[in-house]
């Protein structure tokens, strides 16, 4: 069976027909980026939380204004003290964890997925929020690891 054929795949168990249009109805626009970062001098935990939450809310508000549905917006500042900020369109959830054994660089992950929005415009809006957050809180080395737009 070819990978692309599966939406028309019928099982031998109960012959369910998978409607190929079903997936299109919820075709997501996805933005996903990662940067290795250093904290800017003077940026403390509260400021980080404030700036990252603001970026999340900015994307959430943009999706709502377009009449779209937030799948999820998730951010992770992964380091010895990790900070998670996420939302599914309601009040952002904020969580901190301590990982003193964390071995490597501090990474900032920013992913946002929405449905019923224009892909290019969504990625531009998410990119703007992401870059504003980076500029406010972090110093990004010249060659950031990874980072790319993606669409499914």
């Amino acid at each position: 069976m070819q990978d692309s054929e599966n939406h028309a795949y019928q099982s031998l168990r109960d012959f369910i027909h998978v409607d190929p249009n079903r997936h299109k109805e919820a075709l997501p626009s996805a933005f996903s980026k990662k940067a290795v970062v250093h904290l800017k001098e003077g940026v403390d935990g509260l400021e980080l939380e404030r700036q990252i939450t603001a970026a999340v809310v900015q994307v959430q508000t943009w999706v709502a204004a377009q009449g779209g549905i937030v799948g999820h917006i998730k951010t992770l500042l992964d380091g010895p003290e990790s900070l998670w900020v996420s939302t599914t369109g309601t009040a952002p959830s904020i969580r901190r964890t301590r990982r003193p054994e964390h071995p490597g660089d501090i990474c900032f992950y920013f992913t946002a997925i929405a449905v019923h929005v224009d892909y290019e415009a969504f990625c531009a809006a998410a990119e703007e929020a992401y870059q504003q957050c980076l500029a406010a809180c972090f110093i990004v080395p010249a060659e950031p690891a990874g980072g790319a737009l993606s669409d499914v």
């Binding site: 795949y9 168990r13 075709l27 996903s32 937030v70 799948g71 992770l76 499914v152």
Partner: protein, 215 residues
């Protein structure tokens, strides 16, 4: 190797539920621990986008995680999924595999494909997490997709019921019961709190029944 395919729309709480299911499976697997250093439970994460976050959450809890990013395994990466599952079975041969699908995946397609392509597997069951808080919003906007996720699930976890009042909860449970297969299980849960072990016992029992029923 027995398999749970965990699905449900974006933001429904799949990863939070996965961590509780994983803890339960890990616990019952340790009961029959052979002393091997190989993991008894493996989690396969499929995330949209190049940079996943959920796999880091799960790894931080100490689980063995394999990752498939960029594409959705129900539509773009089914062949890769089969290869990954075969490799996990051959190299790690765990008792349990949990596959966390993307929030836009058709869980049924994944379950049926595994059953068809890998008949040597034990039970393969599809567990779909439904977001109680956004049930009506999602049904209004993407009804075909949400119904498709729920209708053929082996089990449905109606999550975030703490965010509903009793009347709303009863109403949504009624809608869900009208939609789901009569053979499926339905549990109403709040995944940010510990879920009663009888839920996991029921899921495991159903998985074993599916294994015994064969394909």
């Amino acid at each position: 190797m027995n398999v749970f395919v965990l699905g449900g729309f974006l933001g429904s709480g799949k990863t939070t539920i996965l961590l509780q299911l994983a803890a339960y499976l890990n616990n019952i697997s340790r009961g029959g621990q052979s002393g091997s250093s190989l993991p008894r439970l493996v989690i396969l994460e499929n995330e949209i986008g190049d940079e996943g976050i959920d796999d880091k959450v799960i790894r931080a809890e100490g689980y063995h995680v394999e990752v498939m990013t960029v594409g959705c395994i129900c539509c773009l990466m089914l062949g890769t999924l089969i290869m990954m599952v075969e490799r996990i079975q051959e190299e790690l041969h765990p008792d349990w595999l949990i596959i966390e699908a993307t929030g836009v995946a058709d869980t049924t397609t994944i379950v049926r494909t595994l059953e068809y392509r890998m008949p040597e597997l034990g039970g393969v069951s599809g567990v779909v997490v439904a977001d109680a808080e956004r049930y009506d919003l999602l049904m209004d906007n993407i009804p075909g997709f949400i119904k498709g996720q729920l209708m053929h699930a082996d089990a449905i976890m109606l999550n975030k019921i703490d965010l509903l009042d009793p009347r709303q909860r009863k109403e949504i449970e009624g809608k869900l019961d009208g939609l789901r297969s009569s053979a499926s299980l339905r549990f109403s849960v709040t995944a940010v709190e510990p879920i009663d072990h009888h839920v996991w016992k029921e899921l495991v029992k159903q998985n074993e029944q599916l294994a015994n029923a064969g394909f």
